[in-house]
Symmetry: C2
Subunit: 249 residues, 2 copies
Amino acid sequence: MLMTGETLQALPGFGDLDADTFDAVEAISRMIDVPGDAVVCRQGSAPDALHYLLDGRVTLSQVAGNGDVALIDVLEPVRGIDLANVVTGQAHQVTARALTPSRLLELSAAPLRELIGRRPSLATTMLRGLSFDMTAVTRHIIDLKLRTATQRLGHYLLRLAANATSNRADFRLPLRKGLLAELIGCRQENLSRAFAVLRDCGVETHGSRVILHDIDRLRCYALPDSQAPGQTSGLSKSAEAFSNAFNLR
Amino acid sequence: MLMTGETLQALPGFGDLDADTFDAVEAISRMIDVPGDAVVCRQGSAPDALHYLLDGRVTLSQVAGNGDVALIDVLEPVRGIDLANVVTGQAHQVTARALTPSRLLELSAAPLRELIGRRPSLATTMLRGLSFDMTAVTRHIIDLKLRTATQRLGHYLLRLAANATSNRADFRLPLRKGLLAELIGCRQENLSRAFAVLRDCGVETHGSRVILHDIDRLRCYALPDSQAPGQTSGLSKSAEAFSNAFNLR
């Protein structure tokens, strides 16, 4: 098992901190394990900690005034959780909930903000983290605007198969289909239709099991706009590199 | 006309800077006026300046590998432009282009980053700005996921009527309809259908002129999920408050 310091060292941007700042951050950090369905932070409440997801999956959602719940994202390791509001001390705009048992690194919010106010290197680390989050949500908007629901589903399946070393992949969906429909931004009946359409691209499903028989064909269909084959997601790649390096998953 | 210092003083977070830091920021700032269609920053290029939109309108878009252009947002004053990448020095993820003749405050990027690295108060100002941007894009995702294209159009019209003091508003669309469809995230033919549906909520159009005969009814239709009547957009409100206070528009 990793110690807090080793984990912190491996978080994007934290390895560059000067030793004093690093020690100060380590002193306010701890590893926690939460069960599935645990609320990590709640919309409307003042942030008391910054959490980094190290292992597991966490949903971000927002409840509207009429009770509608919008699933904004399903975070995969390694990601900061609602960094934007923790560092500014504003109330959480979203609720983060563990979808599976999850391991988190928890940094106390008030001393963290105090440190950010005194240590420019830490502020820079936080700016990088927020910049990373902005890139992720901007991609999400583009996904919603430029792609059909079927293409978005294909894109999602490709991300799950990001580690595939051949043109074929075989895995289980990590989300139940209702949640997957919300993530993709479509109704559940349209999700079934989307899976049916993707059969022509070699996508076979049995319950939650998915087999991709032709990743290249799926990529051509789902990501006609990608910059280059294989570059489906720079974001998942850096998270993946981190996870692999530390054998967190 | 406002001087650079006065404008800077009024930008969110800049008024709180200590005098030394403020002077250092002012020394690397200047006001510029750009014509319509001017490129403020270009996707893929290294940031050379941070721009704040003070007057006018700026589009943010991203070109995909296959040439598809996604319009991500149309910025209204007062907003930082691609703050996320300027402060980290990463290549711009988006192209920002003036939709109308626009006035910008321009801060040189390299000395700005150098200052951020030495002055924690400036780093905090930037963190707040990025946090504001994150809130805006998160709302955009929710808009795309929870609302129909017709509701999104209604929401947009309500934002344009945010200053209305009665239940009625009469204004011109600031965007041509093709661009409006892209912003809403629908095809142009669906935009016409959406305007037709909104007639039942008292929305009358003549070319680019729009008359809202019943703002309350439109709000009930377009924002059934809003937290409270009138709270359609905290973001536009704070920008609005800034603009009104300084009579920038």
